[in-house]
Amino acid sequence: MIAFWIVALFALVGALVVVLHRNPVYSALGLVLTLFQVAVLFALLDAPLLALLQVMVYAGAIVVLFLFVIMLLSLEPEKRLAAPFPVAVAGLVLAATLGFGLVVSGTLPLRSGVPSRLPADFGSPESLATNLFTKHQLPFELTSVLLLVAVVGAVVLARRRS
C-alpha cells in the first residue's frame, strides 16, 4: 500500500511536469518518470512482464525518440506556454469532468461472478504469452501490418522533406 502511494505521487508529479513545464526536454523527462512509475504499478498488479516491456518500449524507445526530435530541432523553451485563457479554462473543466466521471465509474461495484481467488500462475509471463499467441493471433498479425505502415510512412514523410 505504501508502495502504491509512492508510485502514485511520483506518477502525478511526472504528469504535471509534462503538462506544465515550459521546456520540452523537461516534459519528456517528466514523461519518463511517469512511465517508470506505471511500470512499477504493473509489477504491483501481477504484470511483471508488462512492467519490463513498458520500461523497454516506452522509456527505452519512445521517449528517446521524443528527446531526439526535441534536441535535434533544438526547440527553445516556449515563451507562450498555453492556449488563451478561455481555452485553458475549458480544458480544466473538461479534465475535471473526465476525471470525476472516470473515478465514479471506476469505483462502481464490479459485476458479480468475479473469481475471488486468482489462479496461482496469474500474470506470469508464460500465461500472458500463451494467451497472446493462442487467443489473439489475428490482432497480433495485424500489428505487424501496422508497424509496416508506420515505418513506410515515416520514410516517405522524411524523404519528402529533404
Partner: protein
C-alpha cells in the same frame, strides 16, 4: 524478502551511493569559479554563439524511428520465445508471417537507401 522488495532495496542502495559519488567533488573539492572556467569548452576559443538553432540531418531521426518500430517487433519475440516449445509448428508459422511482413518493411527501408550514411 520478496524479490521485488530486494530489487527496490538495490535501487535505493545504488541510488544513494551514486548520489554520493556525483556530489563528492561538490562537497570535497575547492570552489573557485572564474568566468573563463565557466565558459563552454571550444578548444580554447571563445564559444561562438549559441548551440540552439543547430540542426541535424534527417538520418538521425530516421534511425530513431526505425529503432522504435523494430524494438516493438522484438518485444513480441520475447513471450513467443518463452513458450515456443508449447506452441510448436503453429507458433513458428505465426511468427514467420509476422516477421515476413516486418521483414518487408526492413527490405523497403534498405531498398530506398534510408539506411545509407553517405
Amino acid at each position: 524478502m520478496e524479490p521485488y522488495a530486494a530489487l527496490m532495496a538495490s535501487f535505493v542502495l545504488c541510488g544513494i551511493v551514486a548520489a554520493v559519488m556525483v556530489c563528492a567533488s561538490w562537497i570535497l573539492g575547492p570552489k573557485n569559479p572564474t568566468p573563463t572556467k565557466l565558459e563552454i569548452f571550444e578548444t580554447g576559443n571563445p564559444p561562438m554563439g549559441s548551440l540552439r538553432g543547430m540542426r541535424f540531418p534527417v538520418k538521425f531521426y530516421l534511425v530513431a524511428i526505425f529503432f522504435v518500430v523494430f524494438d516493438v517487433e522484438v518485444v513480441f519475440l520475447y513471450p513467443w520465445a518463452l513458450i515456443f516449445r508449447q506452441l510448436g509448428w503453429a507458433g513458428l508459422v505465426e511468427m514467420a508471417i509476422f516477421m515476413a511482413i516486418l521483414g518487408a518493411g526492413l527490405a523497403y527501408v534498405w531498398q530506398v537507401g534510408a539506411l545509407e550514411w553517405d
